[in-house]
Amino acid sequence: MTELLSGNEAIARGIYEAGVTVATGYPGTPSTEILEAVSRHKDEIYCEWSPNEKVAFEVAAGAALAGARAICTMKHVGLNVAADPLMTLSYIGTVGGFVACVADDPGQHSSQNEQDTRHYARFAKIPVFEPADSQEAKELVGLALEISERFDTPAILRTTTRVSHSRGLVELGERQGARAAAFERNPPRYVPIPIWGRKMRVKVEERLGRLAEEASRSPANRIEWRDRNLGIVAVGIAYSFVREVFPEASVLKLSWCYPFPDALLKEFAAGVERVLVVEELDDIVEEHLRSLGVPCQGKGLVPRIGELSTDRLRETRAKMEGRDPEAGRMPPVPEAADLPARPPVLCPGCPHRGVFHGLGKRDVVVTGDIGCYSLGVFPPLNRTDTILCMGAGVTMAHGMDKAGEPRKVVGIVGDSTFFHSGITGLLDVAYNRGSSTIIVVDNRTTAMTGHQDHPGTGRTLMGEATVEASIEDIGRACGIRRVATVDPYDLKETARVLAAEIDAEEPSLIVSRAPCPLHTRSRLGPPRFIDRDACVQCGNCVKLGCPAIESDDESVRINELLCSGCGMCEQVCKLDAIQVGEGAGDE
């Protein structure tokens, strides 16, 4: 039986079929749907959204040392958070198979940077697998778990956006029997205190050699001999593009690129006239080939920045053949030259808008964070000054404050992000006598990644009711004395509380609480209309940055199809031109 599955759904299927019993993760585009799809098998697989990736990694590691097959999922920057356990689990190894499924985002569709997870595999000296499509994504989960167990090592399954979010037909199989957990005490194996850690260090190096030999024999890597004038080493999804643009070339398809399969690389290079390496992001295989003394081309012809595509490889091919790489592109037309940009925006009815609106009146510095509220950076809101990483909305506010920034510094962090890594920052603000104002924009879900539960929602990934962590109580427990809660749809009250806390001499925590309307799928009220006779086009409502409010030189209108009925525009209209009612002057 076959099914059309995204790469992420295929990985989840692989997890199911391979008899995994523990799966953990933190949401992050493009990795999120793996664990969501795993949760459909919650009767057979324990799964959880962990508060952050480090926790997810360690929970899965515990399960694997107890003998279970275990998986954790995260996006590329999530592995930075989990890097600490990664580095030492490599030394300890594993009993049950352990695979970290890490999704990179070349092209930065939904990410703050573009990092190549394969560096981590090399850094930690562990194997990394890279599927070209959904079918292979499913198969590699099983292979990675098997290699993990046979070689006593954690492994990484790296996808990129176009693998995770492309769909293809996948052959389904049966679930293997799961192993029962039964931890066997053996401190020299599991406790890396220096006397034992040094022995583990030797094991890691010796393991690398055996893994490289296995990689050369593995079905994950194969040579397709065709015309021997050109041989292309194609890593992961690059294979899909290479096969379309260079159908005649010989190809070494690598889906297990590290530890480098030296024997296979040498065999392939010896069999072709000219070698081209095509890999997404950094020149990891290319650099290694050169170190083996194999002359090759790669990043000189294939882009290093951004994602690969058939279009971009056509340009590579044109360059190799001395043709104009621009020639294949569709010529631009004047009709499309001046189109307005359409960046993502806060949705109609988004509660975050109330906070940004309230901040708009104050001359403060706003350190932002990762989540939907990062969209507050765009005009007309213009209310985010910095973003670094998860949790840094809190800590960077404190740093600016301590550096003597003359304006008040306000840190903004989401609810899920607060639980992820905002708490330690808040603890620092209180402990080290800061004075910044921290706002948790709590929309009761992890919204940007598609609405996942977290420790504050009262529900688990497995659908069970559970305790709800209280952000206010955590703030007080950290030592914050000024803690306020506001309804962001009440603009007047929100502005009043913001003013009071920003003016306070001591640190304060404001929790802006209202559920994401996209998640609850409920209308907030009846749609609003603008009475054109009363409207003087002052622009007050337009400054909310609501996509339902459309404005041009002629008029300001509310798009009825988009309006969620939140009523914020009605509150900011000084002339009462915005009302509830039947098409009051609107078309």
């Binding site: 939904s110 769909r167 189109l339 960046p343 993502p344 969209l375």
Partner: protein, 195 residues
């Protein structure tokens, strides 16, 4: 080359308009017709009211999930100017199906850019084969404006050479039972408009 045998479809619009549902139905219909299929879509930040693209490719053997410039048989757009933005994907002799719906980006509302007043004239100039429909009005006449995406898909289907029963089966598998009749009608209406 497999290119000639692989049909490429591009669907564009604004996050929330139903681009992904239309691409899912297309993929299912192609599978039911016995093809290999690959699709691609964008998640996450790109969905928050931003410009959205989904791609479907089908044929005897499909490697890449991404459509190359100048190769799509059909470009469907649920918003009027988004078709212009993604025009480079369409083959010179390809069919463009554009819904006249206008969603004004905040960049326009805040005065940073202007929305082309002559969008329809531009579409007629750049797309030699254009079906320009008021998808929202057509869908509303059938009972729910949200089926505009399926009206557009119905019109697109004329360029795709997949049996009608595969489309119907695909719609059945993708929408809720209570919305099935509406969507089947919307699909049929789209086909009529394109004929």
């Amino acid at each position: 080359m497999s290119e000639a045998q692989t049909a490429s479809v591009v669907l564009v619009g604004v996050g929330g308009q139903g681009v992904l549902l239309a691409s899912e139905i297309t993929a299912r219909a192609a599978i039911l017709a016995g093809h290999q299929v690959k699709t691609n879509e964008v998640h996450g930040m790109a969905q928050r009211g931003g410009s959205v693209i989904a791609q479907v490719r089908f044929g005897p053997e499909v490697h890449s999930p991404l459509v190359e410039q100048g190769t799509a048989r059909v470009l469907g757009s649920l918003e009027r100017i988004e078709a212009l933005r993604y025009r480079p994907y369409l083959a010179p002799d390809g069919l463009a199906v554009v819904s006249s719906q206008m969603i004004v980006p905040t960049t326009v509302s805040t005065g940073q850019a202007t929305y082309p007043a002559d969008a329809e004239a531009r579409l007629r100039r750049v797309f030699p084969r254009l079906v320009y429909v008021d998808g929202v009005a057509e869908a509303r006449a059938l009972g729910d404006s949200r089926a505009a995406n399926i009206v557009v898909l119905g019109a697109m289907s004329l360029a795709l050479d997949l049996p009608m029963q595969c489309w119907e089966e695909a719609i059945k598998g993708s929408v809720k039972t209570r919305l099935l009749e509406l969507n089947l009608k919307a699909f049929q209406r789209g086909r009529e408009l394109a004929e």
